[in-house]
């Protein structure tokens, strides 16, 4: 009897001891996350509800006025549309290219090692450096692209200098940078598909195309979802090249939301507007998070 009581006591104190250890282990992380994720998120919401303080007029509570101001701001509307277009163009194209690259890199082609590294190389380059490389492609007159086009007698185009083409030029850089990265995930998934499936399909007389479409693509679905979430996040995050290529111009045609947040906060010193935009971005990213948690089989991918 006493022995059991002692054992339970021991068990309880042991449990308590472990829980305390656990909390101690988590403390440094929670402190850092609070300082650089939780507190700033809440502070952003808070800031977005106050007016911009000047020396004469201290900032005061204005409710949702900053949001109203934002939705009336034609630049914000343009920027939001740009970002939606940027996402709608770069996400499907880079995923499609990544898939094709992975299929190639996984098949028996000559110089496969070279092909794989060539596809993957942009991933390890800083976006800033990549933008420098691409600048020479786009420069009107003597840029590589113009020189190639002039071989076919096409006129010189100022790719980055006109609103009609600038965003597309920026998208091309993003697609180039992302495809190789996403390819890696497809390549990994392809290598887990058993060889028997292909053999079985061949015996059944299925063509390679049918095999790819009916067997491979469905098996790649979880990877596609994982890549999609990453691509969505990147369509908000990947803006470094704007600083070199266009600075958001000409006339805002390549300005994306994070760039506009940066500009509002650090060039126009309009923190409330930047905060309101940040809240909108957080809501969108939250929706993406919810999508991921719901759609993805929890065992498969997290990032």
């Amino acid at each position: 009897m006493t022995m059991t009581a002692n054992a339970t006591d021991f068990y309880h104190s042991e449990r308590r001891r472990r829980a305390i250890h656990g909390w101690l282990l988590l403390t440094p992380t929670l402190v850092m996350l609070t300082a650089f994720a939780f507190y700033p998120s809440i502070a952003t919401v808070w800031t977005s509800l106050f007016s911009r303080g000047t020396r004469r007029n201290p900032s005061e509570f204005v409710g949702l006025e900053n949001y109203a101001r934002l939705f009336e701001d034609p630049t914000f509307r343009e920027v939001a549309l740009n970002n939606i277009l940027y996402a709608a163009v770069t996400i499907p194209i880079s995923i499609a290219i990544a898939l094709v690259m992975a299929l190639w890199a996984n098949s028996k082609i000559p110089a496969r090692g070279f092909v794989r590294s060539a596809y993957f190389t942009p991933t390890v380059l800083p976006m800033i450096a990549a933008a420098n490389l691409w600048l020479f492609f786009y420069t009107p007159g003597f840029g590589v692209l113009d020189q190639i086009l002039s071989l076919f007698g096409a006129p010189s185009v100022n790719w980055l200098g006109q609103p009609g083409t600038a965003l597309w030029a920026v998208c091309a850089v993003t697609v180039w940078k992302e495809s190789g990265f996403f390819m890696i995930f497809y390549l990994a998934a392809l290598q887990t598909i058993p060889e028997d499936l292909r053999e079985a399909a061949e015996i059944e007389g299925a063509s390679r195309w049918t095999y790819t479409r009916r067997v491979v693509l469905p098996l790649l679905m979880p990877t596609t979802l994982f890549v999609l979430v990453n691509a969505l996040i990147n369509s908000v995050k990947l803006i470094d090249h704007l600083f070199i290529l266009t600075k958001g111009g000409p006339s805002n045609s390549t300005k994306l939301i994070l760039y506009y947040i940066w500009e509002s906060a650090f060039a126009f010193f309009d923190a409330p507007a930047a905060a309101a935009m940040t809240v909108i971005v957080l809501i969108v990213l939250g929706a993406v998070a919810a999508l991921q948690f719901r759609l993805l089989d929890r065992r498969i991918h997290y990032q």
Binding site: L26, P110, M127, F136, A289
Partner: protein
């Protein structure tokens, strides 16, 4: 017919590969040629190191390299420390309310430090971290991604090893250090490669936090050096760009297999 199609496909794959590395190839070639020759695509032009000399003298690159090195190592050290402790707690220690906290931590996967630049700047200012290497690295140290990765790895460590070590008289931290950390060696390597590549290349947050040459990392230094206002020519910018990416590129070519594996592991675990 099928053989022909196969050859055409291989040729296309190769062509795309050429297109994909062509920007790098062109910059590599332009960096070693005079700007007039680079612009005119003069393939017969003589090679020169002049551009590297000009670029090197145009900015405190050595300092930038040092700053990037310090940044990458301090971020990595911070991440290893925090993610090891937290990953271990989430994987192997029974704590009431653990699941709720874990979901909170995972939220950071979506609340990116990049998005919170405005308020993170305010926090960094309050902590006196502006214009310091620690200020650039701090928001990334408690990485939800790293914590998740370590948790997954620690979960796969056999319970028997843990219990055996405890029977031998190891404390909780002793078990972590003697059993779990050695078992996770390959995860650490993978995570290190991904982290180094990420922070070597990071730009926006370092741009915001730094405002002097003694803290600027390479990416920010390069963007200032190559700014159109500075009127530096195409060959010199190429040389500077090649200089900045060379260490990482060489690291990538040497550790290619590990790099790819690292990114895979990082994503799929």
């Amino acid at each position: 017919m099928s053989a022909l199609a196969r050859h055409a496909e291989a040729a296309l794959a190769l062509l795309v590969a050429m297109v994909w590395i062509s920007p790098l190839m062109f910059a590599g070639w332009a960096a070693f040629h005079a700007p007039t020759d680079a612009i005119n695509f003069n393939l017969a032009a003589p090679w020169t190191l002049e551009n590297f000399r000009t670029a090197w003298d145009g900015a405190p690159w050595l300092r930038y390299f040092l700053n990037t090195f310090l940044l990458v190592t301090s971020v990595l050290a911070g991440q290893f420390f925090l993610c090891t402790l937290a990953g271990f707690a989430f994987a192997q220690v029974e704590i009431p309310g653990k699941d709720v906290i874990f979901v909170l931590v995972l939220l950071q996967l979506f609340i990116l430090p990049e998005v919170l630049i405005v308020e993170n700047y305010a926090v960094a200012a309050q902590l006196g971290l502006l214009d310091s290497i620690l200020g650039i690295g701090a928001p990334y140290m408690a990485s939800a991604f790293g914590i998740f990765l370590m948790r997954q790895t620690f979960k796969s460590v056999p319970k028997e090893l843990d219990e055996a070590a405890r029977v031998e008289g190891c404390s909780t931290l002793g078990v972590l250090w003697r059993v779990y950390v050695p078992a996770a060696r390959s995860t650490y390597l993978a995570y290190a490669l991904v982290s180094i590549a990420t922070h070597w290349n990071n730009f926006l947050w370092p741009l915001i936090v730094t405002n002097s040459d003694t803290t600027r990392p390479l990416t920010v230094g390069l963007s200032i050096f190559a700014a159109p206002e500075n009127g530096v020519d195409i060959s010199v910018i190429s040389a500077a760009t090649i200089m900045v990416i060379a260490p990482l590129l060489i690291l990538f070519l040497v550790f290619q297999r590990q790099f790819v594996q690292a990114f895979l592991r990082a994503g799929i675990k």
